[in-house]
């Protein structure tokens, strides 16, 4: 595409808009979507808070007895303290590290794994495709959270193992998407042209098929992020999270349930729950915006 063609002015008005490439066009559409933009701004702020928490938090997030147990929100401790007298704001800030790491790293692994498998079975077809169809259908036949929990217990505690367990149970959608894209793209004329001019399989897959399927892949990846964060939160909520005393939102919400049920401190649940929910909403809105911008055919 010629990205630099000037707009054609005619009698003072614009007859044709300047031609722009796929990326710039998508970005323009994304900028017009106010909800997606708000989500993006929130996510940038969240990332900033996450980075800040690496160097500075108001109090030591793991120091027991920073303030009296179950301190309610007030001056000094704007979000209160938990059952061990640890500052909730500090723990929330540090907790964003766990959630964002789980979300982003899982998304990258799922993308690599899903794209690799999808390209392979979409290109090879036949027996390989049938075998993977069986594997994928078996995965769809059990609740992913259960498989992930068993896998995590097998691997042993730790953030990396949580990520592996979640990624191992969420690559199927991506693989199916890429498989479908590959099946349709490989029949197109330009692939035939590439093959007849002597391009090798690797070149065809990664040089031609992959770039043409990139839009849907990126969109799908952005939806993996909130799904992984949610699964991670379920993990710690059920007691299979990062080892104590590391703070994470799901675990904090889980700790907040007994004071809530007993009726003396709702904030221990409320704040991590709000942070988690708003973050998930922001990722979903941003993903919706990206899909509308880069993959207009999928628009709902």
């Amino acid at each position: 595409m010629a990205a630099g063609v000037e707009a054609i002015d005619y009698a003072g008005g614009t007859l044709a808009r300047a031609q722009v490439g796929l990326w710039r066009d998508g970005l323009r559409r994304l900028r017009r979507n106010r909800l997606a933009l708000a989500a993006a701004i929130y996510l940038i702020l969240l990332a900033a808070m996450c980075i800040l928490s690496l160097f500075w938090t108001p109090y030591n997030p793991n120091l027991v007895g920073t303030c009296p147990d179950y301190t309610l929100p007030g001056p000094g401790h704007p979000l209160g303290c938990d059952d061990l007298g640890r500052d909730t704001l500090s723990r929330l800030m540090v907790g964003s590290q766990v959630s964002l790491t789980i979300g982003l790293v899982t998304a990258v692994i799922v993308m690599v794994l899903g794209v690799g498998i999808g390209l392979m079975i979409g290109y090879l077809r036949g027996v390989v495709d049938a075998v993977f169809a069986l594997i994928i259908n078996t995965f769809y036949g059990v609740p992913p959270l259960m498989v992930a929990i068993v896998l995590y217990v097998l691997l042993g505690p730790g953030l990396i193992n949580i990520i592996i367990a979640i990624a191992a149970t969420s690559w199927m959608d991506m693989a199916r998407l890429v498989r479908g894209q590959t099946l349709s793209i490989r029949e197109r004329e330009f692939i035939e042209a590439a093959r007849s001019s002597g391009a090798r399989t690797g070149k065809i897959l990664f040089g031609h098929v992959f770039p043409n399927a990139l839009g849907p892949i990126i969109v799908q990846t952005t939806f993996v992020v909130p799904a992984a964060i949610l699964t991670g939160a379920f993990f710690s909520f059920l007691g299979f999270g990062v080892p104590a005393p590391t703070a994470d939102w799901g675990g904090m919400a889980s700790e907040g349930f007994s004071p809530l049920l007993a009726g003396y401190d709702p904030y221990m649940l409320l704040f991590p729950a709000v942070f988690l929910s708003v973050t998930l909403l922001a990722f979903n809105f941003f993903g919706d915006g990206l899909r509308d911008a880069f993959d207009p055919r999928q628009r709902r």
Binding site: V142, M146, V150, F237, L238, A253, L270, A273, L276, S277
Partner: protein, 318 residues
Amino acid sequence: MLTRGTLIYIIQRLLIIVLTLLVVSFVVFVVVHSLPGNAFISQRVHGRTLQLLLHEYGLDQPILIQYWNFLKGAVQGNLGVSLYIRGEQVTPLVLRELSVSCEVGGSALLITIGLGITFGVIAAMRQNTWVDYTVTSFAVIGYTVPSFVIAGLGVLIFANFLGSITGGSFAYAAVWTGTYGTIGELWLPALAIGLYTSGQITRITRASMLEVIQQDYIRTARAKGLRERVVTIRHALRNALVPVISILGTTVVGILVGVLVIENIFGIPGLGKEFVDSIRFHDYNVTVGVFTIFALLIGLSNLLVDLLYTVLDPRIRY
């Protein structure tokens, strides 16, 4: 309606379900047996006693033989004995818990379908009005916000707040007391699970209705002078339901995950709570049993969904 083709199709599908169950149970069996530690650690048994216990439950045999023994029992409906509550038969245990989970999950499914389809149709009928925007926003919030957050907010509002302003007379009792919950105990867990899945159903119903009401036969129905309600419900909704039915399989998985999480919050003695406990206590047979039941539920509901197609759309045949 039940033609020979349909029958063959059902049999094929049942065979695939059996195959899936075999694969799932085998993998889970091998994996849980290789987890570090064993069921007797928390019971402080060591040395010779431990060896005797392991031998008594056949845990000292090679894993493949153990699986074969498990399988021999399983085809007769015997899932073995619990290792944590020593000697307790797993089959009656998980069946009782299944009935509890079905109470919770079934109510969640009713809420999902009821709310989802109603709001989806309303949003589509009032497209691009404030009604539509409100409903779609709530749908997005519903399927984004984690079920335990909804449960927490529910407890906060209906147990704590309502309890404090009425002096405790109308408050929601958050902790499940009996084996089966009363309606008063059941609605909040069911709603916490159902809001998530109903959000998805709302979106699909809305999109599908919008597509259907643009078709010619809807115009014909209106031109015949039928009332709008008849056109919407009898003509449009029936056809719009086909894509909705197709995601019901996913919905069932979503509800099962919800059951897993929510049961642990409210102390509901169902399969979800048992699953988490059984992993913690290395109660191998129970873990495998719960897994197998969940896989069976998903397989059967997917089959049911595919058969529902033929009811809704007679053009679809197997």
